[in-house]
């Protein structure tokens, strides 16, 4: 039996056997005159069938972690394992095999699609190649996925090319293509950012259903706190490459304890508590803005808490040493105030 057949057979009999583990993963981008620490000693595990949400600041390293986990880039330090794969040291052939089990949904649906391929072709291809379905089977499966992500009427959308789709429709195509082959792990980078609440609910329910039936693991990168709370088992909050808080999604998002997570949740637009569109809001924001021109993470990492420069509770030691995560497995925070 070839490796490939073995892989497929295992896949069919025992999906979702693998644990994803990141150990002290760091990524430094060297630039002209400065370097950017996009990930700093990141540790976490994702059990089979679990959904872990990565949330955090824009530029905090979420997409970087996604690229490291899917093997698109190599970490500067640390180890990433998924089952038996040592992702950071895979050679290109092994990487191809790895990618049959791990699918990525890229953040930008405008550049993720081949402009020549029709919708149907994009969804059927991985079904034929990875699951080895017959043409007819693949077609049928593709149709059913298209209707779940509401690329309907199916016969209208199947022959469209990406440029003939709206932004949200492209995003739905990218998701459909990634979940169609029922991978063991899906790394979804802002998969529903252009979808309105209505379609968003359908797409997220589909992801949830597949992880239940196929035991698929999901890394769900998002700026949408509400969907993180509904969909994810665990939430990890990143700030400038550091994990500042983590825990079960209910715990972290309902009782945030890191000052950054608090700020993040307070900032979510809430039509139920309308903020008047007057100058009264401006001062509060301008203080944050003044304190916190979001500078790229430059120079020596590891001098202090990454949030110290804009933290309302900052103390002396916050500027000199980095707090480590403390707490129990349900809720951990990296902050000296605790």
């Amino acid at each position: 039996m070839s490796l490939r057949e073995q892989g497929l057979q295992n896949k069919q009999t025992a999906p979702g056997r693998y644990v994803l583990e990141l150990k002290d993963v760091s990524k430094v981008y060297e630039g002209r005159g400065h370097s950017t620490v996009a990930a700093y000693k990141v540790n976490f595990t994702v059990e089979p069938g679990k959904i872990v949400a990565l949330v955090g600041e824009s530029g905090s390293g979420k997409s970087t972690l996604a690229r490291l986990i899917t093997g698109i880039e190599k970490p500067t330090e640390g180890r990433i394992t998924f089952g038996e794969w040592h992702v950071e040291s895979l050679k290109s052939r092994q990487l191809r095999n790895y990618r049959k089990h791990v699918q990525m949904v890229f953040q930008d649906p405008f550049s993720a699609l081949n402009p020549q391929n029709t919708v149907l072709h994009s969804i059927m291809r991985p079904l034929r190649r990875h699951l080895r379905l017959s043409e007819a089977e693949a077609r049928e499966r593709a149709f059913s996925i298209m209707s779940t992500v509401r690329l309907t009427p199916v016969e209208q959308f199947m022959n469209k090319k990406p440029h003939q789709l709206s932004g949200g429709q492209r995003q739905r195509l990218v998701i459909a293509r990634a979940i169609a082959p029922e991978p063991e792990l899906i790394v979804a980078d802002e998969p529903v950012s252009m979808l309105d609440v209505s379609i968003r609910a359908d797409v997220l329910n589909l992801i949830d259903e597949i992880r239940r039936t196929r035991n698929m693991s999901v890394i769900y990168i998002t700026h949408d706190m509400l969907s993180a709370r509904v969909l994810a088992d665990e939430v990890i909050v990143l700030y400038r490459g550091h994990i500042v808080e983590r825990g079960t999604s209910d715990e972290v998002l309902r009782n945030p304890s890191h000052p950054y997570t608090e700020l993040l949740l307070e900032s979510v637009p809430n039509p139920f508590e309308p903020k008047v569109r007057t100058a009264s809001r401006a001062p509060e924001v301008s203080i944050t803005r003044k304190q916190a021109l979001v500078a790229p993470v430059k120079g020596a990492a590891g001098q202090g808490c990454p949030f110290a420069p804009r933290c309302p509770h900052v103390m002396d030691r916050c500027r000199t040493s980095i707090p480590s995560l403390t707490g129990d497995s349900r809720h951990q925070t990296a902050c000296f105030k605790n």
Binding site: L195, V230, P269, V294
Partner: protein
């Protein structure tokens, strides 16, 4: 001030009927106004933005109607003149604007290209202006020395917003400009935008799927469904006094993020096939308040003291046919 009159856009197709993505849209945006445009994915929001900005290729699309900007019909302008207006009078941040940058040019050169074409600033002046704009969108000015691939999705998105403001245009169309931003940065950027908008008196058409955000930042909200604007209201009234059943359903999908239990819900059913000719109200098949007339007769725009609504429910009252 922008006036859009009876605008229709159809994407032509060789094999089947064209997709009529914008169907008889009509609205005004006065100076110094922040207008939000919301609606389901695929309902025609970006197409409307393209049509206003004159970005649709007449060979492939059929555009009809008027787009008047300060008394000039943009649809009749030769493309040369239209190009001269772009950036300086009207600027657009396209959806997916994060990949609109040229990958081989540093961010600053992409700003300078636009500035050089339309002004005669010195290099030092340009650099200063770029730094100022980048700080306004919460980016470190050193970002100007970066190439696009060195920036995160949200950083590129912010740079695109900054670029749209570089020549202080009268109208800025922003199509889903904050999808890659966390709530903190998003809030800071939209606050900056609305402050700047009031300060300089320009107008903004802010396209977004996020009604919560739009309600917070816009003065007026237009709700689009299947190529039509079905409701147009001051933002302050929409939450309590939405009239169109689609708007009501949309609002019903929002959960209070602070609530004890949250769930995600959608509007059952799907939007109509936009290739088809409309008969009756396009929302009727999904509408909770559907009446017999809805399936057969196309509703007419009902004017309100402020705004308008497109629904048979309100027709018997003061109907105006325009």
């Amino acid at each position: 001030m922008l006036q859009v009159k009876d605008l229709w856009v159809t994407y032509k197709s060789r094999r089947s009927a064209g997709v009529a993505a914008v169907r008889g849209v009509q609205f005004d945006i006065p100076d110094n106004t922040f207008v939000g445009l919301v609606g389901e994915s695929g309902c025609g929001k970006s197409t409307l933005g393209f049509a206003i900005a004159g970005l649709l290729d007449p060979k492939r699309n059929n555009v009809q109607g008027e787009v008047m900007l300060d008394g000039q019909d943009l649809r009749k302008l030769p493309s040369e003149q239209m190009r001269a207006l772009r950036w300086s009078k009207l600027s657009v941040v396209l959806q997916g604007g994060m990949n609109a940058f040229n990958p081989v040019l540093k961010i600053k050169h992409q700003f300078m290209d636009v500035m050089r074409e339309h002004s005669n600033m010195s290099k030092a002046e340009m650099t200063e202006r770029i730094a100022e704009l980048l700080s306004a969108v919460d980016l470190d000015p050193s970002v100007m020395e970066s190439y696009p691939h060195e920036l995160s999705g949200g950083m590129k998105q912010r740079a695109a917003i900054a670029l749209s403001l570089v020549l202080k245009p009268r109208l800025v169309i922003l199509d889903e400009p904050t999808t890659a931003l966390d709530a903190v940065v998003q809030r800071s950027i939209v606050t900056m935008l609305s402050d700047l908008q009031r300060e300089l008196g320009f107008s903004v058409l802010f396209v977004s799927h996020d009604l919560g955000l739009v309600l917070e930042v816009a003065q007026r909200v237009m709700v689009m469904y299947a190529g039509q604007i079905v409701e147009d209201k001051p933002a302050s009234m929409l939450m309590e006094q939405a009239e169109h059943p689609y708007t009501q359903a949309l609002l019903g999908c929002y959960a209070n993020p602070r609530a004890e239990h949250v769930s995600l819900s959608g509007i059952p059913g799907s939007p109509p096939d936009l290739r088809a000719v409309l008969r009756g109200c396009p929302f009727a098949p999904r509408c909770a308040k559907k009446m017999d007339i809805c399936a057969v007769e196309t509703p007419r725009l009902v004017k309100r003291e402020e705004g308008s609504v497109l629904c048979h429910l309100y027709a018997p009252k003061e109907v105006t046919v325009r």
